[in-house]
Every structure is written in C-alpha cells, then in structure tokens.
C-alpha cells in the first residue's frame, strides 16, 4: 500500500514540475527585464538591482534554476511584490476558496453525469435518451463563463434565488455557503458533467450487456437493485478515471468563474498578480494549483483502487 502510494506519487511529479519549469523559463526568457517590468518606470537603478538580487536574476540561468528548486523544497517562495509579505502567507488566504469550489463542482459534475448517463442508457434510443444526448453535446460546447453569466441573469437577477456574487465561507453557516457556491460550482461543472454523462451512458450500455448482470437477474434480484447496485458499481469506474482530468480543467475554469462571481480564489489572485507583474506570487499560484491537482489525483487513484479490487497496489 505504501509502495503503491510512493509509486503513484512519483508518477504525479511531472504534473507538479513541468508547469513550474514552463513558468520559470517563460519568466526568464521573455523579452525585457522582469525586474524593470515589476517595478515600473519610476524605479531607481538601486531598486532594480536590489530586486534582481532578491529574485536571483543576476545569477546565470542554471544557478537560478537550482536556487528556485531549493526555494520550492524549503517552501520559501519569496515575497509578493504587491503584498510585501511572503508568498507562503498570501496563498493560503486564496487557496481554500478555489479548492472548495473545485471539489463542489467535481461532485456536482460526477453526480449529474452518473445520474443522466444512467437515465439515458436505460432509455436507450427513445426520446428521453435523445434529449439527454443532445443536451450533453450542447453542454460540452458551453463556455463556462458565459453559462455563469446566464445563470446569474436567470437565478440571481430575475428569480433572485441566489446572491449575484460574493463569497460566504462554510464557517458562516452551511446554507449561506451553499447558496454562494451553488451557481459558481454548477457553471464550473457543467461541461465536465456533460462529458461524464456521455461516458457514463456508453459505459452503462456496455455493462448492461455483461454476463454478470444477467447472473444478477437470474438470481432473482429486482431490476432496481441490478441497476443501482450491480451495474452502476462497475459502470461508474471509467467516470472516476477521468475525474482527475476533469479536476484539472476545473482548476483552470475556476479563473474565469471566480472573476464572474467575485470569489476571492487562487484564479482571480493569479490574474491580478499577472496584471501587477507580481511574479513570485504568480509562481507560487502555479505551484499551489499543481499541488492541489497532485493531491486530488492521488485521492482519486486511491478511490479507484477501492472501487475496483482488480487494481492491485503494486
């Protein structure tokens, strides 16, 4: 079990480091002087030199890389230029919102995907099925941020069921939290739920033809149990395998969603840091998103092994 975990973790390492290396190289190889861009036109030569030294930009590239790696492993990500405090202290203020948003959206997407996929498969080729398949195609083509605006227009502006925007943490009460996160999570999850619906439908159609489903029926189990317990258990495994990928897309989509709903999350922080040329914070944000993704993938892997005993911990 521990060895399995270690091996999964090794496989996840590229997920963490490749994006970071890309960002590292982009920053160093982009035209112009990062220090100059960060400080703006009024900066004095002394200020520039000081910032270059702080960022290690006066060192040769390989040395910079090693320093940067050391910073990651010692969890010293430097200081945010805008906030004038360590990146490690700024990030946690924003990470929670994004993580919660992604988790709720992922849950919504899986639940919607599994339920719709099963309904569709059980109604194979009749109007219900066609309706679900058509909506899934539409859903996959729906830009999240536009859908978010439509949701706001319909549910917040017209019907006034939910707040237009803003963040209520879970500590302020679950109902208020739920009301503030439902629309953002729905907007963020809709495309993935459509993809999962398609996947669940075809996987369910495959599973319903499996001999063990016939066995369950031949044992006299009622159809409700055959579908709900025997068929769905195996049919949802492929949906789980894409959950990691879906979580990745969602962390990306969260950038736009956080802006639309004015949520104080990592995505919005990142865009603002980019606008303020706060590069240490940008790197810190990318690293955090990588780590969140890595942990989520690890959890999904473990769930996968629990759901499918054929997977060995090797």
């Amino acid at each position: 079990m521990l060895r399995y975990l270690a091996k999964r973790f090794l496989l996840i390492l590229p997920t963490i480091f490749v994006p970071l290396i890309m960002v590292f190289l982009l920053l160093r190889l982009a035209p112009g002087d990062p220090a100059g861009m960060m400080l703006g036109d009024q900066a004095t030569a002394d200020q520039l030199a000081a910032l270059r030294a702080e960022l290690g930009l006066d060192q040769p590239l390989p040395v910079q890389f090693l320093l940067w790696l050391k910073g990651i492993f010692t969890l010293d990500l430097g200081n945010s230029i805008f906030f004038r405090e360590p990146v490690m202290e700024v990030i946690p203020r924003y990470a929670g919102v994004t993580i919660l948003l992604t988790l709720v959206a992922l849950t919504l997407a899986i639940v919607i995907g599994v339920v719709m996929g099963v309904i569709s498969a059980l109604n194979r080729n009749n109007p219900v099925d066609r309706g679900v398949v058509t909506s899934a195609v539409l859903g996959i083509s729906l830009p999240e941020f536009w859908f978010a605006l439509l949701l706001i227009f319909l549910f917040s502006v017209t019907l006034r069921w939910f707040p237009v925007s803003g963040w209520t943490p879970p500590s302020a009460g679950l109902i208020a939290f739920g009301a503030s996160i439902f629309l953002p999570a729905l907007a963020l999850g809709i495309r993935q739920s459509a993809l999962m619906t398609r996947m669940m439908r075809s996987s369910m159609l495959d599973v319903m033809d499996e001999p063990y489903i016939t066995t369950a029926r031949a044992q006299g189990l009622p159809e409700r149990k055959v579908i709900g317990s025997y068929a769905m258990r195996t049919a949802s495994i492929p949906v789980l395998t894409v959950a990691g990928l879906a979580a990745g897309y969602m962390l990306g989509g969260a950038v736009a969603i956080e802006i639309v709903f004015a949520l104080p999350g990592l995505g919005r922080m990142l865009v603002e840091a980019v606008a303020r040329r706060d590069y240490p914070l940008v790197e810190g944000g990318v690293l955090t998103i990588s780590l969140v993704l890595a942990v989520l993938n690890l959890v999904i892997d473990l769930l996968y092994a629990v759901l499918d005993p054929r997977i060995r911990y090797q």
């Binding site: 496989l11 590229p14 997920t15 963490i16 480091f17 490749v18 994006p19 890309m22 960002v23 982009l26 920053l27 982009a30 990062p34 080729n125 195609v137 539409l138 996959i140 083509s141 729906l142 830009p143 999240e144 941020f145 536009w146 605006l149 439509l150 706001i152 227009f153 502006v157 398609r198 075809s202 159609l205 990691g244 990928l245 990745g248 897309y249 969602m250 962390l251 990306g252 989509g253 950038v255 736009a256 802006i259 639309v260 995505g267 990142l270 865009v271 840091a273 980019v274 606008a275 040329r277 590069y279 940008v282 944000g285 990318v286 998103i289 990588s290 993704l293 993938n297």
Partner: protein, 295 residues
Amino acid sequence: MTAADTQAEAREAIRAPRAPSFLQRFVRNPTAVLSFALLVAFALMAIFAPLIAPGDPMRVNPVVRFTPPGAEYFFGTDNLGRDVFRIVVHGSRTTLLVGLVVTVISMGLATILGLLSGFYRAVDVILMRFVDGLMAFPGIVLATAAAGFLGPAISTVIISLTIVLISPSLRVVRGQVLVVREAQMIEAARATGVPTGRIFRRYILPAVMSPILVQASFIFSAAVLGEAALSFIGVGIGPTDISWGNALTEARNYISQAPWIVIFPGLALMLTILALNLLGDSLRDLLDPRLARRR
C-alpha cells in the same frame, strides 16, 4: 515478390481504411453536413465582415446606449452605444483566426513530435513525461501566466494556446504511430530496405491522417474556447481588439440592464464550438467506426 510489389501492397493496405467513399458518406451524414455548413457560414461571416456589418465596430454612440435588439440594431447596443451585431460579426475574425492558427501550428508540431516519439524510444520517454505533466495541468492557468509575461496580444494568445494544446494531440498521434509501426506492411517495407524518411511519408503519415483530422476539430474547438476565456479574463488579446470573449468582459457588468450584450456574443461562441465538436464527432464516426460511440 519484389520490393515494389510489397510496397504497392502495403500502401494499398494502409490506405484501405480510408475508404474512397468518405466524401459520399460525409454528405449522407446530416450532423456532419450541418456542422460543416455552420462553420462555413461563420468563415464567410469573418471574411465578409465589413460587407455584412459595415462601419467601425468600436464606434461609440452614447445616445443610443442600451438599445434593445430591434430593426435598427439587430442585437441591440451596449453600454457605450456600440452595435452588438457589428461586434459579433467582426469578432468572428479574431476568434477564427486564432483558432485556425493555433490548430495548424499545434497539430503540425504534434504530428512531427508524435511521429518522432512513436519511432524513437529515447525521444518518447522524455516527451511523454513532459506531456503527462502538461496534460493534467489546467491550460488556462499556464496561458494566463504566459500572457502575463508576454503581454496581452494576439500573438501571446496564439503562443500560449499552442503550448497548451500540443500535448493532447501529441498523445493521439503517438498512439496511432505505435499501432501502425507494428503493422506487417511497415515491417515488410523496412525489411525490403525502404528508407526511413520514405516510410514516414508513404506509410505512417497517411495512416495517422484520420485521427489527426478528428483531433484537429477538437483542438480548433478548444482554441476558440481558450481564446475567448483568456480574453474574457483580460489576459488575452489587447483591450482594443474585438473578440467575443473581450465583448463579454465588459458586458457582464450590465447583465441586469441589457442581457443582450451578454447573450449574443456568447451564443455565437457556443455555436462555433458546437459546430466544431459535432464535426469532430461525426468525423470520428465516419473515419474510425471502431471508435464510434453507440448511438
């Protein structure tokens, strides 16, 4: 049997799956025709934008601000009195241009790298680790960071989306190459001394064409969505350029007063993405029946 015979046979065998009746089958597939027609319509709209909606789309006319859709302004006007119809028509140019360029560059690079990766083990190991890392990571975040360093411009959007979208295509091409290279005709061609370059051009490339074509539709769709998202969050094309994503950035502040500013650019965006996705789906069904999902 001579080398030429083997070669001719191998070529025949590789090309066989690409049935000659592809065009006929395409025409008989309503989804394919409809989505293709929709794309052609959007392309024509982009090309003839100045004729369809003459005038400067950025022209401000505060007197008529927030005019609802009607006979004079089909899609209404925005907070500065700009014609939303004109913005939608002209915005298609950026969207399709970015989509097309990103698709061509990323598919081209993915094909070259995929062929190399499928054939040379050493390249494969390094490239695939890299691709694994990029695949899972949200492209928008990476593109946001890149746009931050490179500054908002069309070129920035193209570069960052290309970097992000190479990975999935590279995987598709590599997977197909790995399947094809094991095929007997390739081994026969190699055994009879056909040079590697020729094997690539004559045998492998035609065999990977179908998946590349299918993948290109989906990449195009992802690029269109990506451009819109980047522009929407303000790290895409410059603020003075027109695109559907850009149009939505400001529009979102006026959704309660003038929902049409939000609805029409988004609808155009969704229809474009929908057409590309449907085209990709039907191409896959037509080109590779094994991959076709059950209907």
